[in-house]
């Protein structure tokens, strides 16, 4: 087993365990901290796939900016045990059953998927994740969606002003 394999399995286990802990921790602040661990593990995967730029952006944007935003929101919400809404037990059961059905289906399908059996990810090969290639693709093949997404941001910005203004 090569060192990359060991790192790969370590990061995978870390990502899965952290993702589970996001759901299982009672305290929302812990959830957010576990979520940061998930993002770091996924960034590690990006590095293994030779996509350093994506890894860095993932860390800066998600683990940095968005998570700080999450923490602020949670702290401002002032969550207490008393103000916590009581969840209906039947809703929980229904959620577990329907979510579990989906999980079983997806796992069952993924196990037999011909696309994934005996295939490993291309570790340390491929160079599309490098900033130079990414930039070239973004400004040649995908320049139209890149420009059009500015409309999306503009509308979100207008919306923020409309909602935020007194």
């Amino acid at each position: 087993m090569a060192i990359t394999h060991i790192i790969f399995w370590f990061l995978t286990a870390l990502a899965l365990v952290s993702a589970l802990m996001v759901l299982l921790s009672k305290n929302p602040v812990y959830s957010v901290l576990w979520l940061i661990a998930v993002f770091f593990a996924i960034s590690g995967h990006y590095i293994l796939l030779n996509a350093q730029f994506l890894a860095i952006v993932n860390m800066i944007v998600y683990a940095g900016a968005i998570m700080v935003l999450f923490l602020f929101v949670i702290m401002l919400m002032n969550l207490d045990k008393e103000t916590e809404p009581q969840k209906d037990i039947w809703m929980k059961v229904a959620g577990v059953i329907s979510g579990g059905c989906l999980l079983i289906q997806l796992v069952r399908l993924a196990k037999d998927a011909p696309e994934m059996v005996n295939k490993t990810a291309l570790l340390k090969t491929g160079s599309i994740g490098l900033i130079e290639n990414l930039g070239k693709v973004l400004f040649s093949d995908y320049v139209v969606p890149f420009e059009i997404s500015s409309v999306l941001f503009l509308s979100a910005m207008v919306g923020a002003v409309v909602i935020g203004k007194k």
Binding site: D141, P145, V151, L152, L154, V158, G159, I163, K165
Partner: protein, 465 residues
């Protein structure tokens, strides 16, 4: 390309008009003028004159159906601006921004009619959705509006997450965002053609799109959001946006349908969803006392009919969805423009409208008749084309019979409003004086609906020639 760029530019123009113009009704006229420019720009492209041509590297493709659909949507928006423009002015302080957001939604619509890949599809869906979250919550003092906005935003974000997961799986299976069937594509990437990831991705896409068009059992957000949002914006969401969502849904799955294989399972899923949507929409609408909430459920029921276009794809389907969009949008925009003028949204609020406002009562009747699919109105042929496509496509007859039965149920609750207007005593109060222009606009809209009902080829003639 004309419509995409012009609609985004119109949105920017509207933003600046808010700074330059202090008079609110002037902003409305700027919006109408901008929309006319947009319609003309789109017609130019429809007749093959490309004023702005950009190489999108195969990510966008413009066909006549999409461009014609754009035209219907823009004309419906024009009717919406003319009829409900003064209500938008009263919806809140940021009038120019509301118009700007509506133009951004139109930009999303134009992308959804011309996407040629999942990437543009996703961007289109998002440009369509984000301004709506804000328009829903534009009545900031109203708690119900805030609740509706937050609910819509959270549910919409989840469905977007599911959509992205689906796109990711399809991309992983095929290595391309293209709309081509993955079974062909997979030969290139070396995967065996009986892949599993792409169908799973398509199912996730399907779930997410069912949410966006409020098909049961993903409809739970719709009544609350449509009820909580300011009535003017409900009108826009329930007609133009929903029709555009359907168009994208059908365009996507018509291209991808081969991936599901010939299996009957796919038809079965659609069968269940159509019946559930018709059932929940129609039966719940019967029990509503508020006309606004009744219209929210009726829009779910109409979504059930539009889903017929997914059930079978043939020539009838294309005509059907175009006609259905026009018939449904025009009628609902008319009803909502009258509803926003009413003091009381409950059924009793319409009592005796025929005495105090005979023109409003009469046109409202025409709109309701069209929604319920009575002959001589556009709604009849719209429903006829949908059902005909299902029969012609070899679909099951039982589905058509169920749909006709539920259409009969819908007549009941639509006629409750007509009954209240004509046969009950009362003083139906309006919250603003009804202007002569408004009445003329309503009569024109009702006339269009009747003309389309007698002579539906008037609309389709534009499409084919």
């Amino acid at each position: 390309m004309n419509a995409i760029i012009l609609s985004a530019l119109c949105g920017v123009v509207m933003m600046f008009s808010g700074i330059l113009l202090k008079n609110k009704s002037a902003i409305k006229y700027v919006a109408i003028a901008a929309l006319l420019v947009l319609i003309i720009g789109n017609l130019f492209q429809f007749y093959g004159i490309y004023t702005i041509d950009i190489d999108s590297k195969g990510l966008l493709s413009f066909d006549r159906t999409g461009l014609f659909f754009n035209t219907i949507i823009f004309v419906a928006t024009l009717a919406y601006f003319i009829l409900s423009g003064s209500d938008i002015e009263r919806a809140g302080p940021d009038v120019a921004e509301y118009f700007a957001l509506i133009f951004f939604v139109l930009c999303g619509v134009t992308i959804l009619t011309s996407f040629n890949g999942l990437l543009m599809f996703f961007i289109g869906i998002e440009i369509l959705s984000i301004p709506l979250y804000i328009l829903t919550g534009s009545d900031k003092k109203n708690l119900k509006s805030n609740e509706a906005s937050l609910k819509y935003f959270l549910m919409g974000s989840f469905s977007t997450g599911i959509l992205l997961m689906g796109i990711t799986l399809i991309y992983g299976a095929t290595g391309s965002f293209g709309l081509q069937s993955t079974t062909i594509k997979s030969a290139v990437t070396g995967f065996s053609s009986a892949g599993i990831l792409a169908p799973v991705g398509l199912v996730l896409l399907f779930i997410s799109m069912c949410f966006k068009v409020s098909a049961a059992p993903f409809h739970f957000w719709a009544p609350d959001v449509y009820d909580g949002a300011p009535s003017v914006f409900t009108s826009f969401m329930a007609t133009i946006v929903k029709a555009a969502g359907f168009f994208a849904f059908i365009k996507l799955f018509a291209a991808k349908s081969e991936d599901f294989g010939p299996g009957p399972a796919w038809k079965l899923i659609l069968f269940v969803i159509i019946v559930a949507t018709l059932f929940i929409g129609n039966i719940t609408a019967v029990f509503q006392q508020s006309v606004k909430r009744m219209l929210a459920y009726s829009s779910i029921a109409q979504a059930g009919f539009m889903l017929f276009a997914l059930y079978s794809t043939n020539d009838f389907t294309k005509d059907g969805i175009l006609l259905y969009t026009a018939a449904y949008s025009f009628a609902t925009i008319g009803i909502f423009s009258i509803l926003t003028k009413m003091e009381d949204y409950s059924l009793d609020g319409f009592n005796g409208l025929s005495k105090s406002q005979p023109v409003l009562a009469f046109t409202n009747t025409v709109f309701f008749l069209s929604l319920s699919g009575i002959p001589l109105t556009a709604g009849f042929f719209a429903k006829y084309y949908m059902l005909a496509s299902a029969i012609k496509g070899g679909g099951s007859l039982s589905l058509v019979i169920i749909a006709v039965l539920f259409a009969a149920v819908s007549v009941y609750y639509y006629f409750k409003v007509i009954q209240a207007m004509y046969f009950k005593e009362g003083v139906a109060a309006t919250n603003t004086p009804i202007t002569g222009n408004f009445k003329v606009a309503l009569i024109v809209l009702a006339a269009i609906i009747v003309i389309l009902g007698i002579y539906p080829t008037a609309l389709l003639g534009f499409y084919y020639f």
